[in-house]
């Protein structure tokens, strides 16, 4: 399954990954090999087969829709690389 460099760049952009030119070339080659292998799936006629999204068996009960105590803002901010005024800090999005 041939993959163009432009396609690799497009995927990397969708996935928010900054890649070097050397990485792009390598992933292009490796992804082509993997896609060649998975092309095997096209052998099967699945027209009447429903898809499986989950293998959960039985009921999945919903919890009660009520407010409960959770983690504190401080506890959640503790791991942030940058924080200010009880919020995550990021570079400005709008000037």
């Amino acid at each position: 399954m041939p993959l163009s460099l432009q396609e690799v760049e497009h995927i990397a952009k969708l996935a928010r990954l900054k890649l070097t030119n050397e990485q792009k070339a390598r992933y292009r080659e490796q992804l082509e090999a993997i896609l060649d292998h998975v092309a095997k799936l096209q052998e099967l006629d699945t027209q009447d087969v429903p898809p499986t999204a989950s293998v959960s068996v039985g009921q999945m009960p919903l919890r009660a829709d009520e407010s409960r105590p959770g983690l504190s803002t401080d506890a959640l901010l503790e791991n942030a690389p940058k924080q200010a005024d009880g919020q995550f800090q990021i570079p400005p999005v709008f000037e």
Binding site: Y27, T46, V49, P51, K82
Partner: protein, 499 residues
């Protein structure tokens, strides 16, 4: 005191209750052995020596305050265990083997771990793993490979390689792992220990850093089926914090094991799928697996040849679905809320640079693959088709389990391979999972345990698979086998840190 580390979890329980030794002595012995062998194994990413000793003292004091006849009240009280670094434990770092979570201190503990702690277990440390559990060798850890205790030039398997190596090398009696496509069963096979992947949904995923959410299972390594059963029984069961966690009752596994004596497997129907004995796999693996099946027959089981016709499609299905789910799950790592940030002038560049620099090669590859499979124009051909073929694989198992109670097959096509053997060839690495992937896709439980050794003295594992929620049958049959054989008692020679 090194003989304390030789004890199984059951023996530790008994010894503590009978006052043969204290929890402090157990934990100290484990820490000494870790200090002695870690330089050659690198099974751990974090060892919590001080907190573990403190908890051991608390367990001993709690015991002292109780009446002498009562014994250590909680089932795991005072017993050290290890946890794969993909499960969160409060006050311990959780990296998932990735640089993108370096320094992350989770604010809560995973349910599976919490239940062990509530039963008295002492988490002695976090074990090494392939980054985000993506890999079959632990070579994808951003913090260096774990070495196989049976041969330090070989991989321990993966992704839960640190946990498997820690149990094999007698650093801990049991350790938690996770299994998305074989990450408990394959390293159990490579390291000669017993490893259980429960039914999907059987153990809560709360606090498990997500990889493939429709596949991820929390599992456990021990030296015997009995030890694995003790841990599994405690951590299994419904958890309201995980919407996919099953409400099916776990039942008492120990009763199932107790009845497994003598010709205990009488009437048990075991299916042997022809698709798991293929060209290209190591001949000794086939031979030892066949011999183990004969042994199960001698214990009273009926053996039937069966077919799981879509087995060969499990690999392509998995390598579409798991990366697709991973690409979505790993979108949360962006340098904003946790982990390090690569600074840049715009938010956009923070995302690109942080993710570009901090994810390792395999994780990047799978994010790319998953993003591609889900992208406009390719979704139906890849993701949609893979989901349909997953149905066919699931049906294979449903059909098989109408005729048999268990399926027996090899855990992996080979014994542990050399470090670096598959570097640069991701597809060759993926093929290592060819026998564990189908059960993951079907969501059925599986166990791997040692059934012999190859000509270079590397352990060979066999896999048993059962219908959904029949871990009792898996563990019962494995226990019966281990009562009749002693492969699981063999240990690697790592006294001086050398094989």
């Amino acid at each position: 005191m090194s003989e304390l580390t030789e004890l199984s979890l059951k023996e530790m329980q008994t010894g503590l209750r009978e006052g043969q030794f204290s929890s402090h002595e157990l934990v100290e012995a484990a820490l000494e052995r870790i200090a002695q062998l870690e330089p050659s194994l690198h099974a751990f990413l974090h060892v919590a020596a001080e907190p573990a000793l403190k908890q051991a003292n608390e367990a001993d004091n709690a015991e002292a305050q109780q009446s002498a006849t009562k014994g250590y009240a909680a089932p795991l009280q005072g017993i050290p265990v290890a946890v794969k670094d993909v499960l969160t434990v409060e006050d311990m770092p959780a990296t998932a083997g990735s640089k993108i979570l370096e320094g992350f201190m989770p604010p809560y503990t995973a349910t599976a771990v919490k239940r062990l702690q509530e039963a008295g277990a002492i988490v002695i440390g976090k074990t090494n793993m392939d980054e985000f559990a993506m890999g079959s060798s632990t070579e994808n850890s951003a913090y260096g490979v774990t070495y196989n205790p049976w041969d330090l030039t070989r991989v321990p398997g993966g992704s839960s390689g640190g946990s498997a190596a820690a149990v094999a090398a007698r650093l801990v009696p049991a350790a938690l792992g996770t299994d998305t496509g074989g990450s408990v069963r394959q390293p159990a096979s490579f390291c000669g220990v017993t490893g259980l992947k429960p039914t999907y949904g059987r153990v809560s995923r709360y606090g498990l850093i997500a990889f493939g959410s429709s596949l991820d299972c929390v599992g456990v390594f021990g030296r015997t089926a009995e030890d694995v059963a003790v841990i599994f029984e405690i951590m299994a069961g419904h958890d309201p914090r995980d919407a996919t966690s099953a409400t099916v009752e776990v039942g008492s596994l120990l009763i199932a094991l107790r009845s497994a004596q003598g010709e205990s497997l009488h009437g048990l129907r075991i299916g042997v799928p022809q698709e798991y004995f293929i060209e290209g796999m190591q001949v000794e693996v086939q031979e030892k697996t066949r011999a183990a099946i004969t042994q199960l027959e001698a214990l009273g089981a009926e053996v039937h040849e069966i077919s799981l016709p879509h087995t060969e499609y499990a690999l392509p299905v998995y390598y579409i679905l798991a990366p697709a789910e991973a690409s979505a799950n790993l979108a949360r790592f962006d340098g904003v809320r946790y982990g390090p940030r690569v600074e840049a002038d715009t938010l956009w560049d923070v995302f690109f640079k942080t993710r570009g620099e901090k994810f390792g090669a395999e994780v990047t590859r799978r994010i790319m693959l998953g993003t591609y499979a889900l992208s406009a124009g390719y979704y139906d051909a890849y993701y949609g088709q893979a989901q349909k073929v997953r149905t066919l694989i699931k049906r294979d198992f449903e059909t098989a389990f109408e005729k048999v109670d268990l399926i027996a097959c090899p855990s992996a096509p080979t014994t542990a391979f050399k470090i670096g053997a598959h570097t640069g060839d991701p597809l060759a690495m993926y093929l290592e999972d060819v026998f564990t992937l189908p059960a993951s896709l079907a969501g059925v439980p599986g166990i791997s345990f040692p059934v012999g050794f190859d000509s270079t003295d590397l352990p060979i594992g066999m896999q048993l698979l059962a219908p959904h929620f029949r871990e009792d049958v898996l563990l019962g049959a494995t226990h019966a086998y281990q009562q009749a054989t002693d492969w699981h008692k063999r240990r690697p020679l790592t006294e001086d840190g050398r094989p």
